[in-house]
Amino acid sequence: MCRIIESKTINPKLNLAFEEFLVKNANEDTNILFLWQNDETVVIGRNQNPWSECNIENIKKDDINLVRRLTGGGAVFHDLGNLNFTFISKNTDTKIEENFNIIIDSLAKLGVISKFTGKNDLVVDERKISGNAFVVEGDVLCHHGTLLVDANLNRLSYYLNVSELKLKSKGIQSVRARVTNVKSIKSDITVENVRTQIIESFMERFGQDTNLEVYDEKRIQKTLTNFENRYEKWSWNYGSSPNFEIVFEDRFSWGEIQINLNVNDAEITDVKIFTDSNDPLLAKLIESKLINIRFDRNEILKSIGTINKVEIKDISNLLKSKIF
């Protein structure tokens, strides 16, 4: 049974939860096209580390959303010039290709010739206009992608630009690509007409027997009444990262210090401090205050702040300037 579902909310936590709900309630007859948009949001792949793949400082400073999705792949930035599409269906060998063809067809009808690359992206003249990712739950395939129509590409690189943290992570790394908006290729294209054309192409391929369903925020919230929304939680968005090691170091008037942290499940599980300060207790005290707390700015600063030593002011500032 074909369904075309449009979301009217731009809340990424609701959109992603709703998408997950649709996937988990799918069966072998499902054939859904879901179209949605988010207000300024960074979305990272399931197996990524946000501290290493995004500029958390800028994200926190501007109060941008950061959510982790269930599919693989790298970090992307959504704003209202970007259109997200999701295909939910039975997992077959040819579905992904069919899905891409619908998007390629739609763009072609609007005068833009795009191509599918081996990296599961869509490009126009070597520039990426759509990043895609996948997850398989049992027999159900969820294939979603972005479509840059009229996005703010400067903001994109501002939030996806890695800051200089000394971090060793085992997560999946984003692959930077040269991106472009579809609008820059054909100036009369808008998110609206791309959306309309994708709906038409989908109906053409799968028959007129499809309903167009519009879900606003209230309707989505009602649908998700008993559904656990993981996207509301720090423990999912930040916490569910692969493990990593991070180093902070600096030189001060009282000496040098190097703080090595092992972070597992976004909790500090190991601390090793090297310093040439004259105070023999300094390293031990800091280690004891950092171990087993969340890798979270406020918690770290609060815990360190209880140490009554003159060097702590410098160390706090160091951590404050790096951890976001």
Binding site: N47, G171, P242, N243
Partner: protein, 577 residues
């Protein structure tokens, strides 16, 4: 319990470990995510199929893994749960709670995925047919999972152990070597898994649809059903490749737990102290040599007058001699009557030899008395598919067609020759005929290998065959004791024997000795091409190889072998009739 990676995104064979969601000693339940696997931007959450505890995590985030790798070990208490959650209204399910239906149309449907079925499937795909293969157990069938391959893995382990026990004679000193049956079985399982995985890969590369259920022919379609899925397959032609199963003779005690067939003994978790083998054919003798080498005291009870009695007398003589020196007890012309349970683990096998009654004590009994074709009589009767009176398998013509034009049959279910390579070739011939290519199956030049120590390879006509059919024949022979390479290997028992007709055309061969099963291949081709002895006289065989004995045996037909003084060395050719 080892948790392995069974599948990845699409056709990917490798993936990177993403987030690992469990730790050592963590309790998990069915459906919990254990870890994530990412390939090509696709993520798969590996969910637990068991309730239990994680014992160890064997992989790291960011590392590469492939299908078949062990990622975790678990202590699985309780039963394997179905991957579904009881759904209350509003909760999600994974769509497994309702049986789904699918209807499939194809050119050729094949029931059975063993060496007959999967080879036929690949051939059919190569010729452009749409193919569905229906297999209720594992691809690779008996051969890969319960027969040829696993026994050869055991044979290799037993050879390594023998070599170590004899290492002193090679100047190598080894103390305290022990054989660990669990590790031998684990190695065998890994080999089997690799091969089965290889066939699964071939199926996907050739776009052959595999249905994992028992195929039942109802009217004109094949129905294959599991709890989750009911498939109805409508095919233009059907190939029945359901194989055969080991059977036990119906004597009292045959159903005791430690009375095994070849299938169960391949999973045994200890080396038997004493093993009684009822049935001294190929399967029985292979296991006799394997377990003797591993340290069991082995006794074989054979109904006919010789073990491996299809072979010629001179070969049986070598085997009997070897068994005597290894301490394998052989009782021929003996009929097993009953198996009695004594105290503890002991089983007593009662057998009669002529007027005498004898008893053997052992902790395990292996029944290797034959394999019966897997015939679903009612289904076949309803389709008008007849059974062959002579072979007692499904009756087929030389194109492998049955008495119902739409159905073909191949492999052990036809019961013509119970050999994997015969099944494969029958499969190819059947498919060629279905796809409009004329070809016929011949059984006259089929090589066969017996993996005891020393190995035996045979092809074509034996002396016993020639005598029975009244063909006049000549023999050329060469012993490995006169071959330099065999001497360097310390493996000098046995010989190469070639059989020609009166006109010196090669019609059969038998080799007993190390590497016989590989060497026999040289003769298959010669016999097919009706090679004359003179054609091979100037063929050069490399030195030092055991294969040189092939050349020498052929020379010997005319009394002209170089490294041996021949029995045939007389002026006039005397034909032995």
């Amino acid at each position: 319990m080892e948790i392995k990676i069974k599948k990845l995104s699409g056709h990917d064979k490798e993936a990177k470990i993403g987030k690992i969601c469990v730790k050592k000693n963590q309790e998990v339940r069915v459906g919990d995510v254990l870890l994530n696997l990412e390939s090509g931007k696709g993520n798969i959450a590996l969910r637990s199929e068991y309730n239990g505890k994680v014992l160890n995590v064997h992989c790291e985030e960011g590392s590469n893994v492939k299908i078949g790798d062990v990622v975790l070990t678990m202590d699985a208490n309780g039963n394997k749960g179905p991957l579904e959650t009881v759904t209350k209204k509003g909760e999600y399910s994974f769509g497994f709670t309702k049986q789904r239906n699918e209807k499939i149309d194809c050119d050729i449907a094949i029931i059975g995925g063993g060496p007959g079925g999967y080879v036929a499937a690949i051939k059919a795909a190569q010729l452009g047919a749409s193919v569905v293969i229906i297999e209720k157990d594992k691809l690779g069938g008996t051969c890969l999972n319960y027969g040829c391959i696993p026994t050869k893995a055991f044979v290799k382990s037993s050879h390594v152990f023998s070599d170590i026990k004899n290492s002193d004679s090679y100047g190598i000193e080894v103390k305290n070597a022990t054989a660990n049956m669990e590790k031998i079985v684990a190695r065998k399982n890994e080999i089997v898994d690799t091969l089965v995985g290889g066939i699964e890969y071939l199926m996907s590369m050739y776009k052959i649809k595999v249905i994992r259920a028992e195929g039942i022919i109802k009217d004109d379609i094949i129905v294959a059903e599991t709890k989750q899925l009911k498939s109805e397959i409508a095919a233009k032609k059907v190939i029945i490749a359901t194989g055969s199963s080991a059977f036990k003779i119906n004597i009292p005690g045959a159903d005791y737990e430690r009375v095994l067939t070849s299938k169960e003994i391949l999973q045994i978790n200890e080396i038997p102290q004493k093993l009684t083998i009822i049935g001294g054919g190929i399967i029985g003798m292979e296991f006799a040599f394997i377990f003797n080498a591993l340290g069991s005291e082995v006794t074989v009870v054979e109904y006919l007058d010789d073990v491996l009695c299809i072979l010629d007398e001179d070969i049986i003589a070598v085997i009997n001699e070897k068994c005597k020196s290894l301490g394998i007890n052989l009782y021929t012309s003996s009929k097993a009557e009953e198996i009695i349970k004594a105290n503890g683990k002991t089983l007593i096998t009662k057998f009669t030899k002529g007027e005498e009654t004898n008893y053997i004590v052992s902790d395990y009994v292996l029944m290797s008395v034959g394999r019966k074709p897997n015939i679903a009589s009612e289904q076949l009767k309803a389709l008008g598919i007849e059974i062959d009176n002579k072979y007692r398998g499904i009756k087929v013509d030389e194109t492998l067609k049955t008495s119902n034009d739409k159905f073909y049959a191949i492999g052990d279910v036809t019961n013509i020759l119970q050999l994997a390579h015969v099944a494969s070739h029958q499969g190819i011939v059947a498919v060629e005929n279905i796809m409009g290519i004329n070809s016929t199956m011949k059984y006259d030049v089929v090589p066969s290998g017996i993996f005891i120590s020393p190995e035996i390879g045979t092809v074509g006509i034996s002396e016993k065959d020639a005598t029975a059919t009244g063909i006049k024949y000549k023999v050329g022979k060469f012993p490995f004791s006169a071959n330099g390479k065999a001497l360097t290997n310390g493996d000098t028992e046995g010989f190469v024997k070639v059989i020609t007709n009166e006109d010196d055309v090669i019609i059969g061969a038998a080799i007993i000795g190390s590497g016989a099963t590989d060497m026999i291949a040289t003769f298959t081709s010669m016999i097919e091409k009706k090679t004359h002895v003179d054609d091979v006289i100037h063929t050069i065989f490399a030195h030092p190889t055991t294969a040189e004995s092939i050349h020498e045996a052929i020379l010997d037909v005319k009394g002209e072998s170089i490294h041996n003084v021949s029995n045939n060395r007389v002026k006039d050719d005397k034909s032995k009739a």
